[in-house]
């Protein structure tokens, strides 16, 4: 992986060792996340059904798949898949990012963007921001759990209400959902393109529309609970 012009021809190239293989890794792991956030978003909306429904759902996550799997077994499998996916996604992204930096070592004095979306040009920094957000989000709601109001963290529903009653924390989450929406908007269509599903103009437009639809659905769906908690509709 050199960044200087060469004169030699590559012999014995392997498809699995190309930049496209890295992109395929990003596409597949990215689609795993899309499925995951869809399910996660659906679960969050249970907050509208009240305290008991939400906590029951949190409990169901642990008992699902039983008795084929042990207690929380299915949940651990999902967690393992997500960890593998995030490691693959981030590792490929870092390699490709470094390559891109190496491919343009001298910047233009003047450069216009004629066609590209803001989402497409902010995938890397936006992705990094999402990574930080995910870390905080896990600390906030999974382990060790943090209640910024100083209250108890024992009850999932109460923790949600306490967290989003805090205006600045709600703001952090809403900004993160904007970043997530942008990431999905470009990421979804880009994954379709990488998988080779958009080889016609029509298919490309469809994939782009689907990306926008998913972005609005997911970012919007996630934003509902924080907004309605802050507005005092969802209460303890």
């Amino acid at each position: 992986m050199t960044s200087v012009a060469t004169t030699d021809l590559v012999r014995g190239g392997r498809s699995t060792r190309t930049t496209i293989a890295l992109k395929l890794t990003m596409a597949v792991s990215g689609l795993v996340f899309v499925l995951w956030v869809l399910a996660h978003m659906y679960g969050n909306l249970k907050a509208f059904a009240g305290h008991d429904a939400f906590d029951e759902y949190a409990g169901h996550l642990r008992t699902m798949g039983q008795p084929i799997f042990p207690h929380a077994g299915a949940l651990w499998i999902i967690r393992a898949i997500l960890v593998v996916a995030i490691v693959a996604h981030v590792t490929s992204a870092v390699i490709l990012w470094r390559r891109a930096e190496g491919a343009r070592t001298t910047r233009y004095q003047v450069k216009k963007n004629k066609h590209s979306s803001l989402s497409s040009r902010t995938m890397r920094w936006g992705g990094l921001a999402l990574l930080l957000f995910i870390a905080w989000h896990l600390i906030n709601f999974s382990a060790p759990r943090v209640n910024v109001t100083g209250g108890s963290t024992a009850d999932p529903y109460d923790l949600v209400v306490d967290s989003f009653s805090t205006w600045w924390l709600t703001l952090v989450y809403l900004v993160a959902m904007l970043a997530l929406g942008m990431h999905i908007r470009h990421g979804f269509w880009s994954a379709c393109q990488t998988l080779g599903w958009t080889s016609t103009t029509r298919a490309r437009h469809r994939a782009k529309s689907a990306g926008i639809f998913l972005a609005v659905l997911i970012a919007g769906g996630f934003s509902l609970v924080p907004i309605f908690v802050l507005a005092g509709v969802i209460t303890k």
Partner: protein, 247 residues
């Protein structure tokens, strides 16, 4: 028209370059962009200065030699090559910044001239079909459905200018490679080497130091031949097929 030109000057590959500012009067709107630079060079010659080095050959939009990043746009503001761009696309009093293509695999040789032999090596590694030479076969000996022939032809219009690389924030040549892979992959003659072609061309692309594609789309917007983003999907698809076939 009177123009202020800011042009990248660099004595040779090893030298440090920088933008120089020139004033140019009496530019006709009917001049092509390269004719405008010719006029500048005549004046520089007359003044005993080194003329600005830039690439050109056919000057009719078919060879792909001309390049130039013009005010931050590859081949300037129109969907055409720099040689087919005319000064009527600019206004009197404009300042025009002219830079070479910027990509590590396209090192600057002098001023605005870059070495694009990386593209030659990508073609050498798979952008061909192998046939026995001899008498030309009848044109209709191998039937090609019109749809495929049309698509192959459209993608074959890629002139290898490198604007896609120049415009891409990742410095990727995926549009170029995609155009070649799609062009040959649409034709019966291109099938025998299809898997090897895509793997070898992409491997060479990566080896030259081009970046990976993130489907941003600046390439297709800059392409003077309007090669669409579809070809990058086709490229990825062909690579995935090669992967399945164990290449």
């Amino acid at each position: 028209m009177t123009l202020t030109l800011k042009i990248w000057r660099q004595a040779d590959a090893a030298a440090e370059g920088r933008l120089h500012t020139y004033q140019l009067d009496e530019v006709s709107p009917d001049m092509s962009f390269l004719e405008m630079l010719d006029v500048l060079n005549e004046q520089l010659n007359a003044a005993g200065e080194e003329p600005v080095a830039f690439d050109s050959d056919c000057r009719e939009g078919i060879c792909g030699m001309c390049s130039l990043m013009i005010n931050g746009e590859a081949h300037g503001p129109e969907v055409t090559t720099t040689c087919q761009l005319h000064m009527r696309s600019f206004a009197d009093g404009d300042t025009i910044t002219i830079e070479p293509w910027r990509a590590a695999p396209f090192p600057v040789l002098k001023d605005l001239v870059v070495d694009r032999s990386a593209f030659d090596r990508i073609i050498q590694s798979g952008g061909y079909i192998s046939v026995n030479t001899g008498a030309a076969p009848d044109a209709h000996a191998i039937p090609v459905p019109k749809q495929n022939a049309d698509r192959a032809f459209d993608m074959a219009t890629c002139i290898g200018c490198g604007a896609c690389v120049a415009a891409c924030p990742n410095g990727s040549a995926s549009l170029f490679v995609g155009a070649k892979v799609t062009h040959l992959g649409e034709l019966p003659q291109g099938q025998a080497e299809r898997d090897h072609r895509v793997v070898n061309m992409v491997a060479q692309h990566d080896h030259e130091g081009f970046g990976g594609c993130t489907n941003i789309g600046e390439c297709a917007a800059a392409c003077p031949k309007e090669i669409p983003l579809d070809v990058i999907s086709q490229l990825n698809r062909d690579l995935r097929a090669a992967m399945r076939h164990g290449h």
